[in-house]
């Protein structure tokens, strides 16, 4: 088990290394490296000075290693908009994004799993058909447009919920959170719902498909033939088999929620990483862009690692195979 985890860890590090190469190529080969280091309105003399100071005349591989060195030391350059280290700018916004993403995922799970179970167990009931039709809509509605409509309905027309910002925050563990105050929660409601909508549809369909797949299995028929209560058949025998893929997908989707928070944060002016990256792209604050990308890579690699671990712990077939290898 430990050696299995070790090998996964090595794989994860390799992925991160590969991503530094890709980001480096993106910035230095595809993009214009000079533009990363100096503001677009710099003079020609300044330009030349920077090119020499940063060694942009050196071979690419040398430049890559100094970039890698910077990454390893947490030095990703300074933002020219905020005039702070880029990494620090990102880290300040991280809690807001995490709060939003976690709330959205929670909403998706709390709504998606029961609806999916219902639709899977009673596929012919009108309610189940309604859920499924709703899920097609949930899949099809572009997140940003739903966000606009939510604002139009709940903020502009009804005036129930605020449409921008985090509202009142409270400090906890040295970070500021919205969900601990009533005002903060009201600010969180619309963005979280917006971000969750697609995932509700996804979780629901996944659970429903799982139920439809597991129900006709021999072991379910066998559980009934042994006289087990229907409740036990569903909650013990069906559910655990479904939960294994569902937990995996939910874990992976958490990463996707963080990515899609870019859209939601932009619409609801939620001061997280996503809004920051769009603002930075628009003003060409490239050190922040690079820092964002590296941060995202780390988050994703960690999520993938945790999901692998969870999957392995849940499914005896995989767990035993992993143990066999160690």
């Amino acid at each position: 088990m430990i050696s299995w985890f070790g090998s996964r860890l090595i794989q994860a590090l390799l992925v991160m290394l590969a991503m530094t190469v890709i980001v480096f190529i993106g910035v230095n080969v595809v993009g214009d490296p000079v533009a990363i280091l100096i503001p677009p309105d710099a003079t020609a003399a300044e330009r030349l000075r920077v090119v020499q100071a940063f060694g942009l005349d050196r071979p690419l591989w040398e430049q890559y290693f100094s970039f890698l060195n910077g990454v390893l030391h947490g030095d990703l350059g300074r933002s020219y908009v905020y005039n702070q280290p880029a990494l620090q700018v990102i880290l300040q916004r991280l809690p807001a994004t995490m709060e939003l993403a976690a709330s959205a995922m929670l909403v998706a799970i709390v709504i998606g799993i029961p609806l999916g179970l219902y639709a899977g167990l009673r596929p012919d009931s009108p309610l189940a058909k309604l859920f499924m039709a709703g899920s097609v809509l949930g899949f099809s509605l572009p997140t940003f447009w739903v966000g606009l409509m939510l604002i139009m309905i709940f903020s502009v027309n009804l005036g129930w919920l605020p449409a921008s910002g985090r509202g009142e925050t409270v400090e906890l563990f040295g970070m500021r959170w919205s969900f601990l105050t009533l005002d903060g929660l009201s600010h969180l409601a619309l963005p979280a719902l917006n971000l969750a909508l697609f995932k509700i549809a996804l979780v629901m369909r996944l659970v429903r498909a799982g139920v439809r797949e597991v129900l006709p299995q021999d072991y379910i028929r066998y559980a009934r033939a042994r006289g087990l209560r229907e409740g036990r058949v569903i909650w013990v025998h069906v559910l655990k088999n479904i939960l294994i893929p569902v937990v995996t997908i939910i874990g992976l989707e958490f990463g996707s929620v963080i990515a899609f928070s870019i859209v939601t944060e932009t619409i609801f002016a939620w001061p997280g990483m996503g809004k920051l990256i769009i603002d930075s792209i628009n003003v060409l604050d490239r050190p922040v862009m690079v820092a964002y990308l590296m941060m995202i890579v780390v988050i994703f690699v960690v999520i993938n690692l945790l999901v692998d671990l969870a999957y392995t712990l849940l499914d005896p077939r995989v767990r035993l195979a992993a143990r066999g290898k160690s």
Partner: protein, 620 residues
């Protein structure tokens, strides 16, 4: 407390059958319908039978006969919305079909236990979990008591080192062991009736023999009744006191098993029995034999046309396999390195003459299919020679191989997937002829039409797609396709195993007809000893990648020398009612695996000649 309950139950079960005419289970006018495309379609029609206490009833039929539906109807396990069950199912006089759901649930697993094919354990729970769950549900034991009882039950069905294995998962057990676990669960509540739905169909024949024996023993100990659902007449003879024959949802015949097997009244039963090969009935002739045909209308059977000797012993063999060895690497570990090796085929040699059928027989993992696939070069052998018409197939490049493949053809097991669903039968048949440039398209079509008729289909079926045909018809199409190239040798890899009994007999008759017409040789690969006896001139028995015994069919079946050959023959269920009350001591042995360590070197083998052409590997 527990023991008293046990004793009590045992006494109840021991009610002498002769004094108690009241049956344990009485099925009366059972009629089951399913919703299909919005309409109610009857799948069981007016089926009635009794099971007496302590008796074993076999319910036998081919696919679509409704035998499994019968069991599901009795247990009320069919989905209530899409199915309807009418009639009466009386368990000791109490009608199960009218019981409230909760009361019915207390019958299931408790009064009536059921076992299915061995793949029915939930993969994410330990086997202990399954047994304990059942015990707690019906017997109200606490966790500790239930665990102790579970261990006792596992010992009872002879699962070695139960204490360690109770916390393992189903996938860590072999098929036979999984079936033992299911039997242990069935015994958990000392049921009055055990319904066994094809419990041994997926198991190897020696494992099947162990399981059948175990069920028989436990039945005698517990005094329970058994309802045994099977398609296999041998299993019927081996296990049952009385037999019910189902056909298209109707009961066609019922009676004591010996009477049904020896003097069947109904045409369908006769047809079914005529299609069943009986091990040992061929000892008076060295040649294969066709199956008798039974007219469904009159029930009269026409004696099969005798087989002529098609083997050309004088000429050189058409196929000569010499020292064939095929191994596969098992990869694993973090770096995907080779961790072990499957010695699938190890130093196998044999010849086949023109017009001869050599059968490769053995259990799963013995390498019989890999031998066939190596000859076809679907897998590449590690070493050895495959001589066809004086040329070695083993070393040929792509182009030469294509040309050589005209001479050796293959028929596969699965009639569904061996035809391309997107091609008409006509296209499928003409394609090989056209790509080998054997003649014009018109010649190809004419030949395809002629061959379709030859295999018993209509020439105008060529414009249809494979999904419009039944399994047996598709297998005929595959055979016709193989014949398009006028091959000398046909490798038939379990080609009749997936077919129903009566269809199987027809396809075997067809193979024998074609051998007579075209003097084609067969390499007949099968796990079914009785079928092998029927079709072969010679037989090779494979075990763990090696041929352990090879010789004329009569010699192998009448005078088997290798202990494995003997074990294999003994394990086959025979259609002989006398076997019902035989008890045999069969050790709980598992099928061994041909996966070896990397440093494994196969031992050098010594061979003994029993009689001319009959060789056996020395055991030691």
């Amino acid at each position: 407390m527990m023991t008293i309950q046990t004793l009590d139950r045992t006494r109840q079960g021991e009610t002498p059958a002769q004094t108690a005419p009241a049956p344990l289970l009485a099925v009366r006018n059972l009629r089951t319908s399913f919703v299909q495309r919005g309409r109610w379609t009857s799948v069981l029609d007016d089926v009635s039978f009794d099971i007496a206490a302590g008796e074993t009833l076999a319910v036998v039929g081919e696919s679509g006969s409704g035998k499994s539906v019968t069991a599901m109807s009795i247990m009320r396990l069919l989905p209530p919305k899409t199915s309807r069950v009418e009639g009466q199912v009386l368990l000791q006089g109490q009608d199960l079909l009218t019981l409230p759901d909760d009361a019915m649930r207390r019958i299931r697993g408790n009064e009536i236990a059921m076992i299915f094919q061995e793949t029915s354990l939930n993969p994410v729970y330990t086997i202990g979990f399954h047994i304990i769950e059942t015990l707690r549900q019906h017997r109200g034991l606490n966790e500790t008591q239930a665990r102790a009882e579970a261990l006792r039950l596992m010992d009872r069905v002879r699962i070695p080192s139960a204490g360690r294995r109770i916390d393992e998962y189903a996938h860590q057990f072999s098929g036979g062991m999984r079936q033992r676990i299911m039997i242990a669960i069935a015994l958990a509540c000392q049921p009055k009736l055990l319904i066994a739905d094809e419990p041994t169909t997926a198991l190897d024949v020696t494992i099947q023999a162990q399981i059948l024996q175990l069920i028989k023993e436990l039945q005698a100990d517990e005094g329970m009744s058994v309802m045994f659902i099977t398609h296999d007449m041998g299993v019927v003879a081996e296990t049952s006191d009385r037999t019910v024959v189902l056909y298209h949802g109707r009961k066609v015949e019922e009676g004591p098993t010996s009477r049904v097997l020896l003097s069947p009244h109904e045409a369908y039963t006769r047809k079914l029995l005529a299609a069943v090969p009986r091990l040992g009935e061929m000892s008076d002739s060295p040649l294969p034999a066709r199956f008798a045909e039974v007219d469904m209308a009159t029930g009269n059977s026409t004696a099969p046309r005798p087989v002529v000797d098609t083997v050309d012993h004088a000429a050189a063999p058409v196929l000569s396999v010499q020292n064939l060895t095929t191994r596969f690497d098992v990869r694993g570990g973090t770096l995907g390195g080779v961790t072990a090796r499957v010695h699938a085929v190890e130093d196998v040699s044999f010849d086949i003459h023109a017009g001869e059928t050599l059968s490769l027989v053995g259990e799963s993992g013995c390498g019989k299919s890999t031998t066939g696939r190596s000859i076809m070069r679907l897998v590449n052998p590690v070493s050895g020679r495959i001589m066809v018409g004086g040329r070695d197939m083993a070393g040929l490049g792509h182009r030469d191989l294509r040309a050589m493949r005209r001479k050796v053809q293959m028929i596969f097991q699965d009639p569904v997937s061996s035809l391309n669903a997107r091609m008409t039968v006509g296209d499928a048949l003409t394609e090989p002829f056209v790509v080998h440039r054997l003649g014009s398209r018109r010649a190809a079509r004419d030949k395809a039409a002629a061959l379709l008729q030859k295999v018993g289909l209509d020439a105008d079926m060529a414009s249809r797609f494979p999904h419009e045909f039944s399994g047996g018809q598709r297998q005929r199409i595959s055979i016709a396709r193989a014949l398009m190239l006028d091959p000398q040798i046909i490798v038939a890899d379990e080609s009749v195993s997936a077919l129903d009994v009566s269809v199987k007999a027809q396809v075997i008759n067809l193979l024998l007809d074609l051998q007579e017409s075209f003097k084609v040789s067969y390499l007949f690969i099968s796990h079914d000893m009785a079928v092998v006896e029927r079709v072969s001139h010679r037989v090779a028995v494979m075990y763990l990648g090696e041929i352990v015994e090879i010789g004329p069919r009569q010699a192998i079946f009448d005078n088997p020398q290798h202990s494995y050959t003997r074990r294999l023959i003994e394990a086959v269920p025979v259609v002989d009612p006398a076997r019902r009350h035989q008890t045999r001591q069969i050790p709980a042995e598992e099928i061994r695996s041909p996966v070896r360590q990397l440093d494994y070197t196969p031992p050098t083998r010594q061979w003994r000649t029993v009689a001319p052409g009959h060789f056996v590997m020395d055991e030691g």
